[in-house]
């Protein structure tokens, strides 16, 4: 079920009313409703894949209980590995099987051996990368004794399948979300209104910004051979805003929806395009995934400690794994490696943590230096996005070589005036609200309520009038 669909517009109020009015007396009934609603939400795409979620839930629930009873460290490790193998096994099979087979074939044919392996027609279950990582965090934390395993199966099932963030995050940690299922939720007017406001902003980002940018980005990328360098650059910028609007929009809707049900999810984006360097960008982009890799991969590898060689190795591992998490294609791996190369000079010079505050925190406009820093960081990010968007590596390289020539300094062949206007307004609002969790959280609070309501009304009407053709969220494929 898509957030930006009529189905969800009907589904959400039904679940909301059942949750607060019919089943509000008993916590376990409310949690059971969350599980049922989540399975309906997920099954709307393909009910067959519900078995995968259920199986992951059963395995990790059982392993959590077994870990609590087991004191032998070797046996505890075996239990942890069972969880890792089951979860990553599913992920590996559904997402990476054909990739590895294809690359083995290419490698063998390179050495003069032609093999005919069986490739499978595998459908990627929506959101498998997200819920796999979420449920893995539970077993790892229980293994590390940082979290008490739960005996409440319904709460655990609700944690694994929680519908607002099931298919595209934020990837929640068990230590943060699971305990919220143990306590009775109280309806809070302000929290619910904040949730609606965040849903509104998420929908605006997705429907008005991302979907409209997608139309032009797709046109330019699909026919890139016939466009000038400036048009290709514009196409790459449109894609940068498409993926930001799409993914951060989804996160906003997920977080806002959770708030309607009394839950708090982690912030997943913090105006990343206003970052002054790549390190800051990665602290602000897909925060829940970055911190997951940091805590479960980077730090166990040694992080930024140890020799320079180890530091370089760890940075490359974390970024390449992150790239590979996004998709079974060399383009994602190169995208990750490119970001590692951007990041490495900062780490090696010890300058990766200098921009930890919000840019121009106490002023309306950035300084010239900050402006240039943001421009360079955004430019580097856009170049990396070309690899993310391209169908293969040679296309990305060809795209970039055609982009960086004299035609870069000509007037673009495609100039969508209304979209550019929307982007300017969007950037202005994001800039004005950059200190908040989401841009419009407190943005217009200095105005009287009727004026604020009118602004929200205008935003909804813009979504209604200028919403592009309904498109799936990009991150569903990851």
């Amino acid at each position: 079920m898509l957030f930006n669909s009529l189905d969800f517009a009907i589904f959400l109020p039904i679940v909301f009313i059942l949750y607060w009015f019919v089943l509000n007396k008993q916590l376990k009934y409310q949690n059971a409703l969350v599980v049922v609603a989540s399975y309906v939400f997920y099954g709307w795409w393909d009910w067959r894949f519900l078995s995968l979620i259920l199986f992951s839930t059963l395995v990790d629930y059982a392993i959590g209980l077994a870990l609590s009873k087991q004191q032998n460290s070797r046996k505890r490790k075996v239990l942890l590995w069972i969880s890792i193998i089951v979860n990553l096994g599913f992920l590996g099979f559904f997402k990476y099987y054909n990739f590895f087979i294809d690359n083995f074939v290419k490698a063998f044919s390179f050495f003069g051996q032609d093999i005919q392996p069986n490739t499978l027609n595998i459908i990627l279950p929506v959101g498998i990368s997200f819920y796999t990582f979420q449920t893995l965090s539970y077993t790892i934390d229980v293994y590390k004794k940082q979290l008490e395993p739960t005996k409440d199966f319904i709460s655990f099932a609700a944690f694994v399948s929680f519908f607002p963030q099931l298919v595209a995050g934020p990837i929640e940690r068990a230590s943060h979300l699971l305990p919220q299922f143990y306590v009775k939720r109280q309806f809070n007017y302000n929290k619910a209104v904040d949730g609606l406001r965040q849903i509104l902003w998420g929908l605006f980002k997705k429907v008005v910004i991302a979907d409209n940018c997608a139309n032009f980005a797709n046109t330019i990328f699909d026919g890139y051979e016939s466009y000038s360098g400036s048009t290709l650059a514009l196409g790459a910028v449109f894609f940068a805003f498409q993926i930001y609007g799409d993914f951060s929009g989804y996160s906003d809707i997920a977080i806002g929806t959770s708030r309607l049900f009394g839950f708090d999810l982690k912030q997943n984006f913090a105006t990343p395009y206003f970052s002054r360097d790549i390190a800051e960008f990665w602290r602000r982009w897909h925060i829940s995934l970055s911190t997951w890799f940091r805590d479960y991969v980077y730090i166990p590898l040694g992080g930024s400690r140890g020799s320079k060689g180890n530091q370089i190795r760890n940075v490359f591992i974390i970024f390449i794994v992150s790239g590979f998490w996004h998709g079974a294609n060399w383009t994602f791996i190169i995208w990750g490696a490119l970001n590692a190369m951007y990041f490495l000079p900062l780490l090696l010079r010890g300058k990766n943590k200098i921009n930890t505050n919000v840019v121009a925190e106490n002023s309306m406009l950035p300084s010239v230096k900050e402006f240039l820093q943001m421009g360079v960081t955004f430019g580097l990010t856009v170049i990396a996005w070309v690899f993310f968007r391209a169908e293969n590596v040679s296309m990305a390289l060809d795209f970039l070589s055609r982009m960086f020539n004299m035609s870069l300094f000509t007037i673009p062949q495609i100039r969508p005036t209304s979209l550019l206007l929307f982007l300017i307004i969007f950037i202005a609002i994001e800039w004005a609200g950059r200190t908040y969790v989401f841009a419009i959280e407190r943005l217009w609070f200095k105005y009287p309520k009727p004026i604020r309501l009118f602004i929200y009304y205008v935003l909804v009407m813009l979504i209604f009038l200028y919403g592009g053709k309904t498109q799936e969220f990009i991150y569903f494929q990851f």
């Binding site: 009529l6 607060w20 309806f187 007017y189 619910a192 209104v193 609606l196 309501l453 929200y456 009304y457 909804v460 009407m461 209604f464 009038l465 200028y466 919403g467 592009g468 053709k469």
Partner: protein, 313 residues
Amino acid sequence: MKRFLLHTVLFLLLLLASFFMVFSMADGTTDAYYKKLSSPKQASLIVGSSRASQGIHPDMIDSVYGSNNMYNYGFTIIGTPYGKAYFNSIANKLDRKDKKGVFIIEVTPWTLSEYEFSSMNDNKYPEDDNYIAKTVFVNMNPNIEYLIESFKSKNEAIVRNKNRKGAYQTFFVHDNGWLEVTIESDMFSKISRTKNKIESYRKKIPEYSGFSEYRLDYLIKTITLFKEHGEVYLVRIPVIKEMLEIENELVPGFDKKMNELAKDSEIPYINMMPLNLDYDYTDGNHLTIDSGKKFSLDLAIQMDKFRKNKTLK
């Protein structure tokens, strides 16, 4: 909680009223289909492809033949070939109370051919998922079902398109369903469009695998349905020679098949193709506005002759 619900419901009502207001502005400028799918049920229909949609003027038929409020319910060869989807839509559009209707069924080899897509997709036809299949309520105004499910443009186009009526490169669907396409009429533009159209239709041939029994079945069902409610005419609209050659390649002996069908169904088949040099075309495939009027007039005369002959018999 009550305060939250009250405020949310009030805000939603305001929004729904605003959405409804925008939808209410949809009309013949919105797109080439909306008006046809939002007009009342009709007793006399013209059905077929874009050739019929643009080329048959209901008012001309009414004035000569004496029919009462003919309605043009033709769409496109891709959107409405004869099949389950179009048949259901026609059946929903038909005012079944009236038994004195007049029906023109336009036929072309394209709308009666098997599309390769179907054999690749377990006999699922391309039109089974399009606007014609999805729009169940074909006489609702404003047609919210169509605007939400099938309208391809952004909703702002409903408002913006209202200003472009009559402008070049636009279209307008009249109250009687006739699709008026305003397009450059200079010779250079016509030659260029014709060349492109011929090329694109020639490229389409490999996508088809000849005459379709499935489509023929639904054409027969359409004829049977119409016969219960009035007089039925099977019509072929002329095109230029090059286009006819492509169609002959697509379905050899098409006219013979139509003649046999007409004979079996006891309805006239009016093949206007031999008169193709009498008319002018925007792209070799669609009649110009003036030629459409002349064609409609000629067609109405032919229909009238058939009616008189039938009466004499």
